[in-house]
Symmetry: C2
Subunit: 407 residues, 2 copies
C-alpha cells in the first residue's frame, strides 16, 4: 500500500518504515473532501448579548458568536473544519476573490419550532447547489453529506441564536472564496469555505405586502452560456445598480426579462411563478425552466413545484413564459396570481408590473391573515406560505424539515 | 455659509460659533472625492529584497513594499489616501465583496525607459474606466485626476521596484471593494479603494509566440444589458472554468463568440483585432464595436485604433464581425492577421482557431525579431508592438507616456 494511501486511510498517526508520521504534516495526501468527524471546536468564552427579536432586527446585520471554517489548497486539499469565535479574515490584497469574483454563497435557515426543536429545511439541496456552484467557478468541490453534517453541528452550537418567536429564524450563510494571493486570471490555488449566521425577523412583519416590479428588457441578469444557474457572487453585484434604478422609479424589485420575446426569468433575487388559467380553463402554475441555465434552481422553487404536483388539481409547468402571454392572460381575465419565491420571503405576491411604459395591475390580492389556519379559499401563494411555514416550525411533519437539536 | 460648506472649504480646523472643529471628526461633511493633497505616507523601515528580474518572475505573484489605500463610507464619503507597508486586509466575513462581487479592478504598467525615466501609459484612461466601473457596480465614484496623481506618487514611492531590463515593467493594480459587513443584496455602505503593484517580466520572453484559440459559441462572456464593458470581478470569475476547458482541449485561450451569428467579441482577457482585405482589396483593421456594451474599452485597443488611423493607408473599423466573415476572408486569401491586444502582452498574434469541429489555420506568421528596429515589411501587429514599446520605454516621444520620476 502506497504511503499516501496509508495516510489517507488513517486519521491518526501511521507507522511507515518504522517512523510514525502525523497526518496533516508534510506527507499528507490530497484530501478530496473535508470530514465532519475532523471538526474541531474552540468556542468563545465571551458570548455576545443576543439582540431582542423585534422590529429592530435588520436582515444580515448581526452575526452570531461563531463561524465554521474549512481551508483548502491545491496540494493537500481540504483541511479540518473548525468552529471558532467570529473573527475578521486577514485577506491578502491580491487574494483572487477580491479581483475576479472567485466566490459563491448559499442561503438557508434554521427555525425554532412550536415544539422547541430546531429544524433546517432541505439542507442537502443547499449543499448540492454549493457543490455545483464551486464546480462552475473552479473552486474545490467536496462531499455534500460532510457539509450537511457540519451545518447541523454549527446550528447546534449557535442554537441560542435561533429566535423562538413566530416568523423569526436564523439565516445561515455558507460561503466559499478563492484566497490565493496572485493576480493571474486563473483557478485559485487556495480557498476558504466558511459559514456565518445571522438571526432574522419575519419578512412580512405587518402582514404580507404585495410588491411592484419594474420589467425593463434592457437589463439582463443571466444568459445561456453564462452562469445564472449558480449562486455565484458574480450574478448579484451587477444587479445592485438596476435594483436602485427600480426603486428610484417607484418599484420595489426588478422583473428580469430575457431576449426579444421578453421571457420572464426571475424577480429580484427570487424565482418567479405565474398562476393562470390556460385557454382550456385549466389552472396552470408556470415557472421558467432550468434548461437554459439562466434560472437559479431554488430550494423553495423546487418545493412549491412538488407541493403543487401533490395537490393533484393543478397543471404544473416548468416552461418558458413571455410577458406577452402574461399580458394576454391578464386581459382575458385568466391571470390568477404572480409571485416570487425564495428562502427570504418564502413567497411574495406581485400587485403590479411596469412594462413597456405602462403599469399592469394584476388581480387584486385580498387582505391576508398569515396567522389564520389554512383555508381552501386561500390564494395559492398563501397556501404555499402556510404549508411551508407549518413545516419550518414543526406544525406539520415532513421529511423536508430535519431536526437539528432541542432548543 | 452653512457649517458643512465651511468644513468642506477648509482642510484644516475651522471656527464655527466660536468653537474650533477639526475636520475628519463627527461634523465632517460628505467628501465626493479623495484628494492627492491629503495623501499621507508611512513607509516601511524594512524593505523587502527585490527579486531578480529574470525568468523566475511569475506574473502577479510578488508584490512591492507598499500599498495605497483610500477608505470610503456613505456618511463621510472619501477619507485621506495613505501609502503604507503592504499588509493583509482584515475583512469581516460578511463583507459584501466576499458575497456579491461588489468589486472592480484596473491594470496598468510603469516602465523604466532607456533614458532611466519611469513612465506610465495613458493612466487617465485607466482612472476613467475605474470610475465608470464603480458607477456600474454601485461603488463610489471620485475625481479621476486625483486618482491619477495618487498613482503617480505611488509609482514614485515604489520606483526601485520598476525593473530596468528590456520588456520588464511594474504592473499596477488599482482595486475597489465593498466592505460593509451586511448580507443584504444592496449597495455597500463602506468601500476601500486600494492599489498594489507587482514587477513583471516580458510577456514573450523567448520571442513572440502566436496562440491557438478555442471558439465555442456555447460559452458566452458578456451580454447586451449586462456589464461586460466594465472591468468588474464578476466578468472574470465565470471565465476561469472555460479557460481551463480550452487548455484541456489543447488551446491556449478562449475566443469569445456572441449570438447565433457567432460574432467575434474578445479573446482570453484581450480585445480582438482582425486585419483583412475587404472585397475591394482595401486593407481593413476590424475590432468589435463598444456600442453593445459587451466589449471592454481597452486602453491598448484605443491606442491601436488611433495609431492605425494615423497610418493613413488602413481602413479602421469598429464594427461587428462574425466567424463566417473571418472564415470567408481566410478561404479567399483575404485574411492578413488576427491578434489580441491588452496591457499584459500589448499584442498577441493568433495562429489557429478551433471552430465548429475543425481547426482554422490562419496565415503563417514569419519568425519575429522583437528587438530589430521597425521595418516597413513588419506585420501590422508587430508594427503596433514596436511602436508602443518605443513609447513605453521612452525611445519615441509621445503624449501617451507620462514621465513619473527619474529611476
Amino acid at each position: 500500500m502506497a504511503l499516501h494511501t496509508l495516510l489517507h486511510k488513517s486519521r491518526y498517526s501511521v507507522s511507515v518504515c518504522g517512523l510514525f508520521i502525523k497526518r496533516g504534516l508534510a506527507h499528507r495526501s490530497y484530501q478530496e473532501t473535508f470530514r465532519f468527524v475532523d471538526l474541531q471546536e474552540s468556542l468563545t468564552k465571551y458570548p455576545k448579548l443576543i439582540p431582542p427579536n423585534d422590529d429592530s432586527l435588520k436582515f444580515g446585520k448581526v452575526m452570531t458568536d461563531h463561524m465554521l471554517e474549512v481551508p483548502w489548497n491545491n496540494v493537500t486539499g481540504w483541511g479540518s473544519p473548525t468552529i471558532s469565535p467570529y473573527h475578521p479574515l486577514p485577506l491578502d490584497p491580491a487574494a483572487k476573490c477580491l479581483h475576479y469574483a472567485l466566490e459563491l454563497f448559499e442561503g438557508t435557515k434554521a427555525y425554532c419550532g412550536d415544539d422547541k426543536k430546531i429544524r433546517m429545511f432541505r439542507p442537502t439541496d443547499n449543499c448540492q447547489r454549493m457543490h455545483d456552484s464551486a464546480a462552475r467557478i473552479a473552486l474545490p468541490t467536496f462531499d455534500i453529506e460532510e457539509l450537511r453534517l457540519c451545518l447541523h453541528r454549527f446550528v447546534e452550537v449557535e442554537k441560542n441564536w435561533v429566535p423562538d418567536q413566530p416568523g423569526f429564524s436564523l439565516y445561515i450563510r455558507p460561503t466559499m472564496i478563492g484566497t490565493e494571493p496572485s493576480l493571474g486570471v486563473d483557478q485559485s490555488a487556495e480557498a476558504l469555505l466558511y459559514v456565518i449566521a445571522s438571526p432574522v425577523g419575519p419578512y412580512f412583519p405587518t402582514g404580507m405586502k404585495p410588491v411592484s416590479l419594474l420589467a425593463d428588457p434592457k437589463y439582463v441578469r443571466a444568459w445561456p452560456g453564462g452562469s445564472g444557474n449558480c449562486k455565484l457572487g458574480s450574478n448579484y453585484g451587477p444587479t445592485v445598480m438596476i435594483q436602485k434604478e427600480a426603486v428610484s422609479k417607484g418599484y420595489q424589485q426588478v422583473l428580469w426579462l430575457f431576449g426579444e420575446e421578453h421571457y420572464i426569468t426571475e424577480c429580484g433575487t427570487m424565482n418567479m411563478f405565474v398562476y393562470l388559467k390556460d385557454s382550456q380553463g385549466q389552472a396552470e402554475l408556470v415557472t421558467p425552466p432550468l434548461s437554459q441555465g439562466t434560472i437559479l434552481p431554488g430550494v423553495v422553487r423546487r418545493s412549491l413545484l412538488e407541493l403543487a404536483e401533490s395537490f393533484g388539481n393543478i397543471k404544473v409547468s416548468q416552461r418558458p413564459i413571455t410577458m406577452a402571454e402574461l399580458v394576454q392572460a391578464l386581459n382575458d381575465n385568466r391571470l390568477i396570481e404572480c409571485f416570487g419565491a425564495g428562502t427570504a420571503c418564502v413567497v411574495c405576491p406581485v400587485e403590479k408590473i411596469f412594462y413597456k411604459g405602462e403599469e399592469l395591475l394584476l388581480p387584486p390580492i385580498p387582505k391576508l391573515d398569515l396567522s389564520a389556519p389554512a383555508h381552501s379559499a386561500d390564494p395559492l401563494f398563501l397556501k404555499f406560505y402556510k404549508i411551508l411555514n407549518d413545516i419550518y416550525y414543526g406544525r406539520q411533519a415532513s421529511s423536508w424539515a430535519e431536526i437539528v437539536c432541542d432548543a
